[in-house]
């Protein structure tokens, strides 16, 4: 090779044009701006962690971790900060929601992926998307004005309180249903055609093929949909703020009022709250628990897909 850059074209030889790589400051500037924009997401995460961490640190300076995670009474006015009543209510509403959303969502997904014709599928999917696009506050309104009165009529107004975790949980299930059904449908549709045809060739009926072949093959996708739905339910706020009740209550009775973690944050921060008080800091401690739980669920959901996904050629 020559040490000098060889000029192939007459223009280049006459130095009228250069094909050599030029330094372009504008391009570099743009590039660094784009990188900065992408890095904003890291700043956001850092912000969340720092904000929640700092206030929680101050909080745990006065309330011990043992008290926080061991206590069964949440009464900030008398200095009792046990998170269990709030955590319990969150679990109750979320599990109720999953009890509604998973079976129905999976049934809808199986219908859409295995039974419905192309035309039916194309009509139904936008409807499910509309359901997913309705603001959660509207669901809260529905829970309070329709579902709760219905429950009270069915089970009796004496057993069912005006605010109860069952009503909030049921409506939350419907909120999550489109998410679950669309994720499950994607998972089911991803199962290769060959598996279906092999099952039919062995004499399996459509139901047997769907339930024993396709669903197990898509299991990782379904499990991750379930966990993502659970994470969504745990973080859901407006439905529980409206329908589940105010005031913490350690109860396992779904007909009684109980405040969830998110409901508590909304109620307390919606009122007049002074900065740097224990009330204010306790909200950040709850938010930290909420953040960690949902983060764990989200990571778990993706890990399941990654690890257990059946890879087909």
């Amino acid at each position: 090779m020559h040490t000098k850059v060889q000029a192939h074209y007459p223009e280049e030889r006459q130095r009228r044009i250069s094909f050599r790589r030029r330094l372009r400051p504008a391009e570099l500037l743009i590039q660094s701006f784009l990188f900065f924009c992408a890095a904003v997401s890291i700043l956001t995460t850092l912000g969340i962690v720092l904000v929640l961490g700092r206030e929680s640190f101050a909080f745990f300076g006065e309330v011990s971790l043992k008290q926080f995670f061991g206590g069964t009474v949440w009464q900030p006015t008398i200095g009792l900060f046990g998170i269990w009543p709030l955590l319990n209510a969150t679990l109750m509403t979320s599990l109720t929601a999953m009890l509604v959303a998973l079976p129905i969502g999976l049934a809808v997904a199986i219908y859409l992926a295995e039974y419905a014709s192309e035309k039916v599928r194309e009509t139904l999917k936008p409807i499910l998307e509309v359901l997913a696009g309705v603001p959660t506050i509207v669901y809260g309104y529905f829970a309070l004005t329709v579902v709760t009165p219905l429950l009270r009529r069915v089970f009796g107004a004496d057993t069912v309180e005006v605010y109860n975790t069952l009503s909030a949980g049921l409506v939350m299930g419907i909120l999550i249903l489109p998410l679950i059904s669309s994720m499950c449908e994607d998972a089911l549709s991803a199962v290769p055609r060959g598996l279906r045809e092999a099952a039919y060739a062995m004499g399996a009926t459509k139901l047997e093929t769907s339930v024993r072949i396709i669903v197990p093959a898509a299991f990782s996708g379904i499990a991750s949909a379930f966990i993502l739905g659970l994470s969504r339910a745990v973080g859901e706020t407006m439905i529980v703020a409206l329908a589940a009740g105010a005031g913490s209550n350690f109860t396992f009775n779904p007909f009684r009022a109980a405040e969830t973690m998110t409901g508590h944050i909304v109620r307390i921060s919606g009122g007049d709250i002074s900065y740097d008080s224990m009330d204010y800091r306790s909200l950040f401690a709850i938010a930290l628990v909420l953040f960690l739980v949902t983060l764990f669920l989200n990571i778990l959901s993706r890990a399941i897909v990654k690890k257990y996904r059946e890879v087909y050629e």
Binding site: E27, Q31, I104, S181, Y200, T205, F291
Partner: protein, 438 residues
């Protein structure tokens, strides 16, 4: 396909007689072919799957129906003062001139209330329609005695008429659309009959404007970096992973972030004090439209980035290569080819994200949207309330009339979201048509 399975087995067996001695099927006692039962089960579950799907559609219909049912219907009103007693010079209240109405008001209002109204806008300058309204609100004082839903109002009209006559003698029964022009164009007041959504509507629009201005360029730039520039190294993988995780963080956490960073930390900026704004007695501290818009921008940023990446990924590589091959720089390729080609998809994704921001309530409660606000927001440093906040407030009131205005506000909110989506679809189709003809 369904018929293949049974015929295959039953047809093969008898047609091969010499194999009959050595059957294909296992002969264990627990093995039953039971085709009829299997098909019955199949049909049963097929029906169950179908019902589940129909159920979700029925639910959506019920949801819409409930809202419409609550937004219209009969209202029984009882007047504190009989309008007939306000006749002046033998002219009925409805037909009086502005002058006559003004005299009535001046005679009967308490001096303090009269002064308050005078301050809002001088009585002498108000038109007759306004004054008539004022007489009704201030003097006749109609109170809601009972309300009915739309379905009741249509099918049980007779019962409602009878009930209102016996239970509330002297009452006026009228059909009311809770969502009406007045409701759309008046600011918030404390009474359900006179309140409006203008305050909340303006608040929503201003907040969303800030959210779009901040989140759209930032999100698309980040998507361009990740799809077109980023090399596969640890840092970029971390950024990508981080964005996926941020998309799953509950919205209320963003509210806490906004409260600590925008409302408290950056108070001099978000309250407008640094720019000399918002000091006119209306102290909003950091709880302003700017804070809300920035918080929502952070909330929808991951969604916009992920959608933007998908849009860019859908562009065939040949477009990039041909642009680079004729000597365009990377940025020229992105700006003149990739972004225009993916604009329709980017637009759709952004509208989805913005719709989410419009309906978001929880983070706004946390950063301190005002619960009761009679003044419309004037700029980005004003205190604010938004439509979902308003719906939240009204729904949590126990009185039935607040439920009706909540339903009316929900219709306004859904209408806003629907028109935004329609706009996006129309624009997208136009873009696609332009591209095809080009």
């Amino acid at each position: 396909m369904k018929k293949v399975a049974p015929t295959a087995v039953s047809a093969v067996l008898p047609s091969v007689p010499h194999r009959a001695a050595r059957p294909y099927l296992p002969q264990r006692p627990d093995f039953k072919l039971d085709l009829a039962g299997r098909h019955a089960r199949g049909n049963f579950w097929r029906l169950a799957f179908m019902l589940a799907t129909i159920g979700t559609i029925v639910f959506l219909a019920t949801l819409v129906l409930t809202i419409v049912d609550d937004a219209f219907g009969y209202v029984v009103m009882v007047n504190e003062v009989d309008p007939a007693s306000l006749a002046r010079d033998g002219v009925r209240l409805e037909d009086q001139s502005a002058e006559q109405l003004r005299l009535t008001l001046e005679e009967q209002l308490s001096p303090r209330r009269a002064r308050a109204l005078e301050r809002e806008s001088p009585l002498a300058e108000r038109p007759a329609a306004d004054l008539h309204e004022l007489v009704l609100v201030e003097l006749v004082k109609p109170n809601i005695a009972a309300t009915y839903g739309l379905i009741e109002s249509i099918f049980e009209r007779g019962r409602i008429v009878a009930e209102s006559q016996t239970a509330f003698p002297g009452s006026v029964l009228s059909f009311r659309s809770w969502i009406n022009w007045r409701f759309m164009s008046t600011s918030q007041t404390a009474r359900p009959l006179t309140t409006g959504v203008l305050t909340a509507f303006t608040g929503t629009l201003l907040t969303i404007l800030i959210t779009i201005v901040v989140a759209f360029p930032l999100g698309i730039a980040a998507a361009v970096w990740l799809e077109e520039y980023a090399v596969d190294n640890r840092l970029n993988r971390f950024i990508q992973l981080n964005i996926y995780n941020l998309a799953g963080v509950p919205s209320i956490i963003y509210g806490m972030l906004g409260l600590a960073v925008f409302v408290r930390g950056l108070e001099p900026i978000t309250s407008g004090a640094l720019f000399g704004a918002g000091s006119g007695g209306d102290v909003a501290n950091g709880r302003t439209i700017l804070s809300a818009g920035l918080t929502l921008a952070l909330l929808i940023l991951p969604v916009i980035i992920i959608n933007g990446q998908e849009a860019l990924r859908a562009i065939p590589g040949s477009l990039r290569h041909s642009s680079l091959a004729v000597g365009a720089t990377k940025w020229q390729t992105v700006w003149s080819h990739l972004l225009p080609a993916s604009l329709d998809r980017i637009l759709t994704g952004t509208v989805l994200a913005v719709s989410r921001a419009i309906g978001e309530t929880a983070p706004l409660v946390v950063i301190g949207a005002s619960t009761f606000l009679t003044q419309d927001p004037t700029g980005i440093f004003s205190k604010f309330t938004t439509l979902p906040m308003q719906i939240y407030q009204w729904t949590s009131r126990p009185q039935p009339e607040f439920r009706h205005i909540a339903a009316a506000a929900i219709l306004v909110l859904l209408g806003l979201m629907l028109s935004l989506n329609a706009f996006a679809i129309i624009t997208r189709n136009k873009l696609r048509k332009n591209r095809r003809s080009a």
